[in-house]
Structures are given as structure tokens and as C-alpha cells.
Amino acid sequence: MMQRMFPPLIVLAMIFFVCAPVFIAWAPYESTMGLVQKIFYFHLPSWAAMFVAAIVCGIASVVFLFKGRVIADRIAVASAELAVVFGLIGLVSGPLWARKAWGVWWQWDARLTMALVLWMIFVAYLLLREYGGPGSEKLAAGVALFGMANVPFVYWSVNVWRTVHPTTNVVPTLVPGMRGALWWSLIGFLLLYALAMMARVRLEEQRATLERVYRELDD
């Protein structure tokens, strides 16, 4: 079923990404930041996709730890990689926007620092899986749980602490022109996440098949 869904999802994702620049260009300019504010339409969706990836990785890790389901471990690895990729997009687009909007590339405030730490947790997950040796799957699953637990803290940090980053109140109060472009980009990024997940999980399944074949040949 997943393989049958792949081609139509690719077409849908392509439509979203081809049309996104048009909607972003049509969106009104923000009064104080002007053109540079349009980074928002990729910056927020990339972090949203990162949060989704982190949560999926955490849930899959819980299932792997407590039920021992191998497919859950494959989903966790795939999602952790995507959390790192989308997080990296957010960590690069943010400072590019900040340089113009705040006058600095980076601020060690609550939101930015916690977001960087969250990204580093999933980098640590991948390093553990790659170099941790036998048994590192369960240790990495524990790291993923910790990462997932951090997501709500990162999200609410702007409302709890005084930070330079805009609060979560910005999105619900967007004007229709901006809201439409944001939702379009967000759906595009989430489709991209779904597609990349399918491909990456297939890679893990094929690797597992290859390992099984080699073991059978050795026997």
C-alpha cells in the first residue's frame, strides 16, 4: 500500500512546492521586516516538520523499547534522520532572517538555544546508531524519548520566557494572505516528510533483508 501511495504523493508534493513560491510572493509584506520576513514561509514549516519527526521518532522508540517491534526501530531511525535534516534547514534559515530582523545572526535566548539542543539530541541519536555497536538501538531509543520530551518545551519557551523570538501568538493572528501561504508551505513540507519517510524506511527494510541473506549464506 505504501508503494502504491508513493507516486501520487510525489505528484502532490511537487504541486505544493512548485506553487509555494507563487503564494509566498503574493503574500503581503510585513510592515517592519519587509521582504526578509518571507523566510517565515519555509522557516516555520521546516521546524514544524522537525517537531513531527522528533515526536514520531520518540513514539516509534517507545514501541521498540517496550514491544520490541523491529519496524518501529526502522521508523525511528528514518524519522531521526529527517529531524536532523529539517532542523538544519530551520537552524540555517532562522539566522539568515535574524541577521536582518534583529541585527545579529544568533542569540542565546531560550527558544534558539533549546531548538539547537533538540537538534543536537537527534544528531547524537544518529551517531549512537552509527558508531554505538551492538545494543546501541535501545540506548538510542532512550535518547529519542528524551528528544521527544523536549519538543513541548521548545515550543512553549517563547511564551514562558522573555525571548527575542516571536511568540506562538503570531500564527493565529496572521492576515489571510499570509495564513494561506503558510499553510500551503506547511502541507508541502509535511508531504515531503511523509515521502522521505517512506523511502528511508524502505532503505532500512532492504538493508535488513540484505543482512538476513548474508547470514543465510554464511549458514
Partner: protein
Amino acid sequence: MLCLLLILGIGVMETSAEEFLVQSMQTSQQDEFVPIDELETEDQLPAAPLLIAAYGFAWIAMFVYLWSIWRRLARVERELASLASRTTER
């Protein structure tokens, strides 16, 4: 009569104050032609290169990642196919 005069006087004062405020704003706005090289550094920065860099990086990062998945998958499937052909030859 005195109250009426008082009310009229306050009304005149408010109107003049409002006109003065509008005039002073217009005056300050007309005085605000500041050359770009006298602005703060962040206000002098052009936004387009930053916007293009952000979007460009997002596109390139996703493309590189998807290409890496495709490459790894192709390598594994090639190896599986080669193993399958070796076992059938036996």
C-alpha cells in the same frame, strides 16, 4: 454661561492641540529623509540575498538528502540482486 464658555474654550484648545500634533508629525516626517548609509547596519542590509540563501539552502538540503537515500537504496538493491543471481546460479 460661564460653563458654556469653559466648554467652548476646552474644545478650541483640544482642536489646536490636535492640529499642532498633526503638523508636528508632518514636520518630523518631512525631515526624515535619511540616506541609507546613515542607517543602522541591519537596516542597510539588503534582504534579497538573505531570502535567496535561505530558500536555496532549504531546496539544496532536501535535494541532497533525497539523492543520498536514492543512492543508498540503489546500492543495497543492486547487492540484493547480485546475491539473488548468485544463489540461483548455484
